[in-house]
Symmetry: C3
C-alpha cells in the first residue's frame, strides 16, 4: 500500500523499514543534544556511536574506504534521529529534515565526500520521503572530536 | 534614479547590474538544492560551476592566488542565487541573505580567508544592498567535494 | 537568592558574574556582525579579540595547549555576546543561545575538541542558565582567518 506508506509519519516509516533507533547520544561537554526554537530542532553534532562506543575511527583518503565512511555516516545519522526522538517523544512529530551538514575527517587529496555523505542522506530519504529532500553541505576537515571520521549535524522541522 | 534602485527587488538589481544567473546547480548526491522552512531558504553548498563544470580546482595557500579564490567564491555565490531563483521563480521574492558560510580548501598556513570570501560577499551586497548585510563565517578546510577550492552555503529570507 | 537569579535576564546574570562585555567586534570584510530574521540572531564568526587585537594565535595539537584553547574559546564567546548586545541594546532581550558552532585550527591528530569548546559553552551556560543549554558542533579545520586558533559562530533567540 504505497499510499498508506507515503502518508505515514516518520516514526511509522522507520518501523516499516525495520530500523531500530539506538540509545540517544550523550553530550561530550557542557551542551545539550537538542535545542528547539519555534518549530525547528537544532541537533548537536552526532557521531557513529553504537552501544555507547564510537564504532569506527580513522580518516577518509587514508585508512578508511568510502564504503566504511558511508556506514559511519548512516550510523551517525541514526544517532541524530535518536536525539530528535528523545526530544519530541514520538518521531512522527518530526515533519522533515531541513538541513544536513556532514563533516568528514579527510585528507587534502580526498574528493569523494558526496558518496560518503549519501550514507546519511539515503537514510533520511528513506524515512522522510524523497519528495521532500534536505539541503546539504559536506566538508573534509582536519580532525573531529574523539577521532571520529564523521559528524552529522542536523536541523529538523516539527509539526 | 537611486531611489528607484534602492527600492527595487533583488531580481531587478541583478538585471540592472547586467549579471546573468547561471543554470541552477544539480545535487551531487541524495539531497536537494533548496529546503524551505517558514520564510527561510536553506541552500545546499554550491560550487564554482560554469556550463555544468567545475571552473577551477586547487587549494588556497598552495596553487591558487587570493584573486583566483575570489573569482571562485563569486561564481559559487552565483550558483547559490541560481538555486534560490529556481525555487522561488522570481528572485524579487528573496528579501535578503541572512547567513553566508564559506568553506575554502586551504593550507594550514593560509590566513587571508576574508579576502577570498569577499568575492561572494561583494556580489551579495550588490544584489541585496549594503544596508542589510549578511552574517558570515569562513573556514579553511582540508578538502571539499570534487576538489573544488570553494563552497558557498547560504540561508535566504523570502518575502 | 537563587530564585531571583534564575529569573534574571542574561544581562543581569552577566553583571552578577562580574563579567564585562568587550568592545563589539568589527567585520573583517563585506558583511555584518549580526543578521536578524524573525526572533533569531545569526552572529558572524567571532575571534578571540581583546582590545582590538587577536589575543592568541596557533594551532591545537601543535603549539597551543587545551587550556590555552579554552581561554581563546571563552574570549571568542565574549565577542559574540558583545556583537549580540550591540544589536539588541540590552542583553536581557536575548533569551537563549540556540546553537554554537566552534571551529578550531587543529592538527589531524588532535582529539580533544570538546574540552576546548567547553571554554565557550561554560560561559554561555553561566549566562543563559544550564536548564536551557545550547546545541553544539565542533570541528578541527586546517586554518582560520588571520591565524586565529578559534572561531565561535552563534545563533541566539530574542524575546
Amino acid at each position: 500500500m504505497p499510499d498508506a506508506n507515503s502518508s505515514a509519519g516518520s516514526g511509522a516509516r522507520l518501523r516499516a523499514l525495520g530500523l531500530e533507533i539506538p540509545t540517544p547520544p550523550k553530550p561530550l561537554g557542557n551542551y545539550v543534544e537538542v535545542s528547539q526554537t519555534g518549530s525547528l530542532l537544532f541537533i548537536s553534532g552526532t557521531l557513529p556511536i553504537a552501544n555507547g562506543k564510537l564504532a569506527i575511527t580513522g580518516r577518509l583518503g587514508e585508512d578508511l574506504t568510502v564504503e566504511q565512511g558511508r556506514k559511519a555516516a548512516r550510523l551517525a545519522a541514526m544517532n541524530a534521529l535518536a536525539a530528535a526522538q528523545e526530544h519530541v517523544d514520538n518521531l512522527d512529530r518530526v515533519k522533515k529534515l531541513v538541513k544536513l551538514n556532514i563533516y568528514l575527517a579527510a585528507t587534502p587529496q580526498f574528493t569523494d565526500h558526496a558518496s560518503v555523505a549519501d550514507g546519511a542522506s539515503d537514510l533520511f530519504a528513506e524515512i522522510f520521503g524523497r519528495e521532500q529532500g534536505h539541503a546539504r553541505m559536506v566538508s573534509g576537515v582536519a580532525s573531529l572530536p574523539k577521532g571520529t571520521p564523521v559528524v552529522v549535524e542536523t536541523i529538523f522541522e516539527t509539526n
